[in-house]
Structures are given as structure tokens and as C-alpha cells.
């Protein structure tokens, strides 16, 4: 646990030592805001809730989270620091979890900085704070799942651009796998079990369930187990690819 904390600290230091952290946070807030206001008709709806704000999070994450995750392992491999990191007296699990947690905490900081939206709806009306809290938790869990996918895929390559593109593509599939576009392709020939499985993998479906204000334990478990699965794969990939 101590080692995980040390790695989280170093990683966060790394984020804030470069403009990366500030650029990311500013762009995240600007996009989250403008999408909610302009595309989501935040005011015109005349409802004091954050639905238009949260609705765009999956799409926002699709672009921004791969940018955050792409460097996690690709950079370590490219610069050779992976050799330094993995010859320190820490386990692979500690390294993988530490790097992931730091990026998740960072995403959490960016998400928390959207609190003025919440203050705005409190000022304008009488929102259901339970739903808003649930939505924040759901959004944070989904960000974690995106990050775990990105972390795992960034270990596959030394090239951050490749890591970004592949992560965005895979995350897109996970996001839309419950939609009619994807299910339509499968319907008719694939067995119902496969159809249900693919549909159940959708980040969007699980996220929308939470945003509606129903925190179903199953949705939380879905995201947490997705994170665990991809981090496990992450450790395996790092082990396989570190020598290249």
C-alpha cells in the first residue's frame, strides 16, 4: 500500500510538473460547459438538473481520457524509465495500480472542478442532489473504466499516438455496444446470448442507468470489474512487452 501511494504521488507530481494537467483541466471544463450549454440546452430546458451536463460525459471522455491514458506506459517504455521503475523493490501490481490510481485521481480532480455547474442549478432551482451525486459517482466510475482500458492499451506500444487512437477506438466500441447500430449488425445471425453479452458491456447503458438516479449496485460492479479486468490485462501486457 505504501508503494502504491509513493507511485501515485510521483505520477501526480509528473502531471502537474508539465502543462499537461492544466491544459487537460481547462479543456475538460470548457468542453463540458459548452456542450451542456449549447448542445444540451442547459437553460432552455427550464429544469434544475444536470442531465444535459452528464449526458455528454461519455463522448467527452472518449476524446479526453485516451489523451490522459496514452502516456501511462507508452512513455515509460519509450524513455526506458520502465526499467528503472520495475527494478525498484515494488511489485508489478503496485506499479500498475499506482499509475492507474494517479490518473483516476487526476480525472477525479478535473470532474470535481465542474462543481460550479452544481452550484448554478442550486442557485436556479431545487435540484435532486441525490441524483447529482449519483451522476458524479457514475461519471467517475466510467472515467475509471476508460482509463483502465487506456492504461492497458498504452502498454502495448511505445508510440503515444497509436495508444491514443487504439484506446479511443476500443472505448468507442465499449460506449456504443448497447446501441442499435452495433446490435443491428449482430442481430439475425448471432445467438441471443452473445447479443445480450455485447449489450451488457455498454458503458453508455450502465452510465445512463446511474445518471437517471438509480444507483444499482450492478452498474457500479460493472465498472469496477471492468477496471479490475483491464488492470490485470495491463500487468500481463507490461510483463510481455517490457523487454522490447
Amino acid at each position: 500500500m505504501h508503494n502504491v501511494a509513493v507511485i501515485v504521488r510521483r505520477e501526480l507530481q509528473g502531471y502537474f510538473a508539465t502543462p499537461l494537467a492544466y491544459v487537460f483541466i481547462v479543456i475538460f471544463l470548457a468542453l463540458a460547459g459548452s456542450l451542456a450549454f449549447f448542445a444540451g440546452n442547459f437553460f432552455e430546458r427550464g429544469q434544475a438538473d444536470l442531465q444535459p451536463f452528464f449526458n455528454f460525459h461519455p463522448w467527452l471522455y472518449l476524446v479526453l481520457i485516451p489523451a490522459l491514458a496514452m502516456r501511462l506506459w507508452a512513455e515509460e517504455r519509450k524513455s526506458g524509465t520502465i526499467e528503472l521503475l520495475l527494478t525498484l523493490p515494488i511489485s508489478m501490481t503496485e506499479a500498475v495500480v499506482g499509475k492507474f490510481l494517479a490518473s483516476w485521481i487526476f480525472a477525479g480532480i478535473a470532474l470535481a472542478l465542474t462543481f460550479p455547474f452544481w452550484l448554478t442549478v442550486i442557485y436556479l432551482g431545487n435540484p435532486d442532489n441525490g441524483v447529482i451525486l449519483a451522476s458524479y459517482i457514475g461519471s467517475f466510475l466510467m472515467a475509471g473504466a476508460f482509463l483502465a482500458v487506456g492504461s492497458c492499451l498504452s502498454a502495448l506500444t511505445k508510440n503515444q499516438v497509436i495508444a491514443f487512437v487504439v484506446t479511443a477506438a476500443v472505448c468507442f466500441l465499449f460506449t456504443v455496444s448497447g446501441s442499435q447500430i452495433v446490435l443491428g449488425v449482430l442481430r439475425g445471425w448471432a445467438p441471443q446470448l452473445l447479443l445480450d453479452t455485447v449489450a451488457s458491456l455498454s458503458f453508455l447503458t450502465h452510465f445512463n442507468a446511474i445518471v437517471r438516479g438509480v444507483i444499482d449496485l450492478r452498474d457500479a460492479v460493472f465498472f469496477l470489474s471492468t477496471i479490475a479486468l483491464f488492470l490485470y490485462a495491463n500487468a500481463v501486457v507490461v510483463d510481455l512487452k517490457k523487454a522490447d
Binding site: R9, E83, P89
Partner: protein
């Protein structure tokens, strides 16, 4: 060929590493004891770095293992890693961090905190003279400083075993001298393995050298022992003012002489008399010169050249 050390701190046992069809390291075994500085020599791509990566637990061996201060790198890799200070090839470090933050990170990972950590970091900084650049991002430092940051990181926890992959690569002569001085200073208490392809380095710091070629260990001995394998070992270089031709024939006729060569180099023209089987022939040559009243301008016994031995053993492999 075995180490004479009584206190083996690093035991490399039949290490092999296979990358697909390529056998990068092939059944390498050696030991390093306290007080020894082992020079790890070999041409580029011979498997030096791969071997070091296995000893430090970065790469899993395909076969064999290494034991560091009693801890097996396969069975108890964390315990083994605690005993090792490692400078990877190219001295990688986090470019966005400052040396101070970087060393603080390493200190925390190594389990130091508070006053202990400050002391350990202070010592490492002092050893490597990093004081002047502590607050600059590592990215902006010169190659020499980057290398020293890597060294500081390896020395920080005062490890009993130091493994340095090309510690002086890319440094200027003064910096090389400093690093070698540091290694000599640390040598008494530690077991040190340094890889290099600079043979002068072996003479300067190593108490023993192993040569690896195409993944196999082809020589293991003290620098002096290795030099003896050179055909230059105990050869006599004799410079004459005149009568080179007669002298060449006369020297050739001596019983202990293998061959005589005329050499012209920056020291002038001379006869190089090679000894048969590396025996000492200087007395015979001197007697002959006195008897024949040659005008000898210079007479010297050659030590043997590591370079020759290096070529000899690595090209044969």
C-alpha cells in the same frame, strides 16, 4: 576460471535468455564477491545488458537464476531488488522531474522517510556532485549530469550490490575519471558489476573481468590474467640504432623466441620479439644484445594487450 572470492554476493547460475529464435544469453555463470569490481566486457549485442536485466529482476530468465545476497531473483525478487543499486543502460530517469524530486521518489520507494531520507539523498547528491542542478528539470541537464542522476539513484540506499550498465558512456574524460574514482571509492564494501566496452576502464577500476560473446561467457579472470593470453605478453620491444637486419636474424635464432616482427609506430621503428608460450625472454635478448655489441636505443617488456585478448576471444566465439 572460478572466482577466488570467499564471500559471493552475486551468484549467477546458468542464466539463459531466449528472444524467439535468438539465444541472447547462453548458460552464463559467474560469482562476484564483496570488494570485487567485475568488468563485464563484450562486443555490442553480446548479451551484457540482457544479463544485467536478468540479474536486476527486470527480465525473467528463460533458464537459470541469480542469487543476490542470498535472495533468489525468481523466488524473492523484491528482497533481491532491495540489495541492488542499478543504473540501467542510458541512465533513464523521468525527464519532467527535478533531480531532487526524483531522488525523493526513489528514497520513498526504498522505504526511507524523514531525516533518514534527507540523509540518504544528501549523501547520494554529494557522491555525484549534483548540488548545482537539484532544481532543474532532468530534461534540461547535460548528458553528464543525467548520468550522474542515474548514479545517485543507484547509490541512494547504499546497496551492497551495484550493477552499472555502461556508467561512463558518453561522458567526457574528466567525468569518466570522476565516476571511476567514485567506483574505486565504493569498491571495498560492495560487489560491483560494470559493463563496458572500454578496455581502459577495465584497467582503471576492475579487479576481475569476464568477457561475453554471442551470449556465451568466453573468458573470466583478473585483467593481468587476461593480458597473459595476449601474444604480446612478455614480448620484448627492442630499438636499435643500426643493424636491424642482422639483429632480426639473430633474435629469430634464440630458443625462446617464437617470431620477430619489425614494427613502425609513433614511437619509432623497433623489433618486436614474441616469446614462445609467453615465457620471459628479456634476459636472453639482453644477453644477445650485449654479446653482439648492438647499439640499443631502447628495450622494453610488453605487458600484453587486453585489446588483443578481447578480439581473440570474441571473434573465436
Amino acid at each position: 576460471m572460478a572466482s577466488t572470492s570467499t564471500d559471493p554476493m552475486v551468484e549467477v547460475r546458468n542464466l539463459s535468455k531466449r528472444f524467439g529464435p535468438i539465444l541472447a544469453v547462453d548458460d552464463v555463470s559467474f560469482t562476484v564477491g564483496r570488494g570485487e569490481v567485475l568488468g563485464f566486457l563484450g562486443p555490442n549485442g553480446a548479451g551484457k545488458s540482457t544479463t544485467m536485466k536478468m540479474i536486476t529482476g527486470f527480465l525473467a530468465p528463460s533458464a537459470g537464476t541469480a542469487v543476490v545476497c542470498g535472495a533468489d531473483i525468481l523466488a524473492d525478487s523484491i528482497a533481491a531488488k532491495r540489495q541492488i543499486g542499478y543504473l540501467p543502460e542510458g541512465a533513464p530517469s523521468y525527464p519532467d522531474m527535478t533531480p531532487l524530486h526524483f531522488l525523493e521518489f526513489v528514497a520513498r520507494v526504498r522505504g526511507f522517510s524523514g531525516r533518514e531520507a534527507r540523509e540518504a539523498i544528501g549523501n547520494a547528491i554529494e557522491c555525484t556532485s549534483l548540488g548545482s542542478v537539484l532544481a532543474q528539470p532532468i530534461d534540461t541537464l547535460s548528458k553528464g549530469f543525467k548520468r550522474r542522476v542515474g548514479l545517485a539513484q543507484a547509490l541512494l540506499h547504499d546497496p551492497p550490490v551495484l550493477i552499472l550498465d555502461e556508467p561512463t558512456d558518453g561522458l567526457d574524460p574528466n567525468q569518466k575519471h570522476d565516476v571511476r574514482k567514485l567506483i574505486n571509492l565504493l569498491a571495498a564494501e560492495k560487489a560491483i558489476i560494470i559493463s563496458t566496452h572500454l578496455l581502459e576502464e577495465v584497467d582503471a577500476v576492475c579487479t576481475r573481468a569476464v568477457v561475453i560473446a554471442a551470449g556465451r561467457l568466453v573468458a573470466d579472470g583478473t585483467p593481468a590474467e587476461l593480458e597473459q593470453r595476449s601474444r604480446h605478453h612478455n614480448a620484448v620491444r627492442i630499438e636499435l640504432a643500426s643493424g636491424m637486419d642482422q639483429a632480426e636474424a639473430a633474435l629469430q635464432a634464440l630458443p625462446g623466441v617464437e617470431s620477430v616482427e619489425r614494427v613502425s609506430d609513433d614511437e619509432g621503428t623497433a623489433l618486436l620479439v614474441f616469446a614462445r608460450g609467453g615465457r620471459s625472454i628479456v634476459a636472453e635478448v639482453a644477453d644477445l644484445a650485449r654479446d653482439r655489441r648492438w647499439e640499443v636505443a631502447g628495450l622494453r617488456v610488453e605487458r600484453g594487450r587486453l585489446e588483443d585478448v578481447f578480439r581473440q576471444v570474441t571473434l573465436a566465439a
